[in-house]
Symmetry: C2
Subunit: 383 residues, 2 copies
């Protein structure tokens, strides 16, 4: 496989973008990425989106976006893996460049969720329709079950979960593209309106609109453009049972463990080599479980680690320096690409007030559903 | 890029499969493909489907199908390009093996359309929602406009269009997996219930359920398995404007012309080298236009060619020996893979009563919407 590098990135602000269509925001992010990369053309593009059919009545997003971006007749493909759609978009672009079929490929992601669709119902199509959703459970309930199991098994507390949200809002307050730039307190999280026991409103990522895009290219292209190469050291993906009840346990996410194992092997690295990590904190418990399953902390220690500040900027392993899904927002198809953008900015030393000093190796962990799919990428800053 | 070959194929019968779920039919096709390939495991899989969210309320099809097939934790990704979803599924599997990231990959496709959703409305999400669908036009109307323009410009007749349907039903009558195995006459086509002038019911492909899967692998794997190598000579994809009204003309499909140009170049072949071709005959006019845009006939001559029998088995260029979308059925996500399966069977000399004698090189042309996306593959039978 050829070496693949990220040479440009662009995104919209995440939030309630009521004055813009799904096409407007995708094109906005894409044009920024192309301009940032300094390329005149792209050979191919991917659009990660979870359910534009249900959210805005438009499928065929690859062609739609190629058309509005003005890049026809290039190949344009829509990929989906629920909330990991952005991650698989990046992976497909990586594989296409690695194969030698193309030299410069755009990996984009987008979701427009606030235009009137029943969001919880649409998102629930990422769970098992027959055995989960028809019984009345949706994602807050599924992750709440994971939280209760984790609390029972390891003594994780609501206060530890709240520490995740507080830390992510603190990071997000320094991110100009974040949906919520307000800092919050532990008490605010603990006293927020209950959504699904043990989650209050501030344990949950928001409903968002947004788009993000990055340009990946062969090392040769990066050298010609005189870009500092942000190299993709690993791209790994894994699946798990779609329904939570089919798994041997629910306090470990098998797809995360499996994808991480492959990613570390491909990169020749171990957890302690990672300088910062963006993880999929759709609910506070997700960040806790994933921080364990990625090997940063022992199983059961993720909550305590968050409470002690080990995942804060300046801590042992800074997690979600962007603000994460919780504060930056979670337009599902765009999330996996926005994670890559945070790594790109950090590894280029351009993350402003939230910069991790000396960051050289970053990881992004994006997952779909209650972990039925997981995509992990490791990026390294070249010299 | 590494050489990539097709080593196994399997599909369900296409039709109204009311006693089976979308998971049942995908798994049925996938198991047949795995058995046919004679492999013990697959490294990764793709699922092409257009809109399972709207048709059956289930997204996240990659993970869903990996789970029900019992192959977790392998990577499993859903790809979509409207009715070309199967074609892009095959292309992504091709790229993954070509890159060296995986050795054995399944490319599948599925759609369950007869379970109660408003099919015409769901399919219309492949057109431009803002500028086409909101004005009341759906796909029969869009292709009817193409037909009228072709009739006006080149004198194509309803009888010539009918000849396409009659030929495809004749071929499909010899295909055990076809939805309609009845032969029809020119008069029946001309006198069928009007759908959208100039199309009668028998000018239109049906609404179908079905699944199809193929196994692609590196040449090394094929040699170890002692398989006759059916090699992928070319994989090409192109996009075009999503709305018909944005194009310079509507009697030529730009995405088909562009993808064909790339495919012929990649394979080092010209139209006369192709022994048989599966084309995307969602409506009779589509086969006529595409047979011209692929270079088999001069622009405007496609209707006459069909009427003269040049596209029949035994003719100059046998088109849709499987029965095509018209007779075999059109479960949209499965169609592109079913086309590859027809080539696989023909190139292996196992197409029974519809065998093209001495077939060595086959082409599959799969498109989405009114041609906003097109994927073309060329396969060659090894010795």
């Amino acid at each position: 496989m050829r070496d693949v590098v990220v040479i440009g990135a662009g995104m919209t602000k995440f939030g309630e973008l009521w004055d813009k269509s799904i096409k407007d925001i995708f094109v906005e992010a894409a044009l920024r990425a192309i301009e940032d990369a300094g390329v005149k053309q792209i050979d191919s593009m991917y659009v990660g989106a979870m359910s534009s059919g249900l959210f805005v009545g438009q499928e065929h997003l690859g062609a739609v976006m190629a058309d509005y971006l003005g890049v026809t007749p290039i190949p344009a493909t829509h990929v989906e893996s629920a909330c990991a759609s952005g991650g698989v978009s990046f992976r497909q672009a990586f594989l296409e460049v690695a194969s030698g079929a193309s030299d410069i490929v755009m990996a984009g992601g987008v979701e427009k969720m606030t235009d009137g669709a029943d969001v919880t119902e649409a998102l629930a199509t990422a769970a098992d329709q027959e055995y989960e959703v028809y019984q009345g459970v949706t994602f807050p309930g599924l992750y709440a079950m994971i939280a209760h199991a984790h609390m029972k098994e390891f003594g994780t507390t609501r206060k530890q979960l709240a520490a995740v949200a507080v830390k992510n809002h603190r990071n997000g307050s320094k991110n100009p593209n974040a949906q919520f730039r307000s800092e919050i307190t532990i008490d605010q999280v603990l006293n927020a309106t209950m959504v699904a026991d043990p989650f209050g409103l501030l344990d949950c990522s928001p409903v968002s609109d947004g788009a993000a895009a990055v340009i990946v290219a062969s090392m040769d292209v990066a050298k010609k453009l005189k870009k500092k190469p942000i190299k993709v050291l690993a791209s790994a993906q894994a699946s798990d049972t779609i329904a939570l009840h089919s798994r041997p346990g629910i306090t470990t996410l098998g797809s995360v463990v499996n994808a991480a194992k492959k990613a570390y092997k491909m990169a020749g690295l171990k957890p302690s080599d990672i300088d910062l990590c963006e993880v999929h904190d759709c609910f506070t418990i997700a960040e806790v479980v994933v921080s364990e399953d990625l090997g940063f902390f022992k199983k059961g220690e993720g909550g305590k680690a968050a409470e002690k500040g080990l995942t804060a900027i300046g801590g042992k392993i800074p997690i979600n320096t962007s603000g994460g899904l919780k504060s930056k927002g979670h337009p599902v198809g765009a999330t996996g690409i926005a994670q890559i953008i945070e790594l790109y900015e950090q590894l280029n030393g351009k993350a402003g007030d939230r910069q991790v000093k000396g960051a050289r190796i970053g990881m992004a962990q994006n997952m779909g559903g209650s972990g039925a799919s997981c995509v992990i990428h490791i990026l390294e800053s070249g010299k």
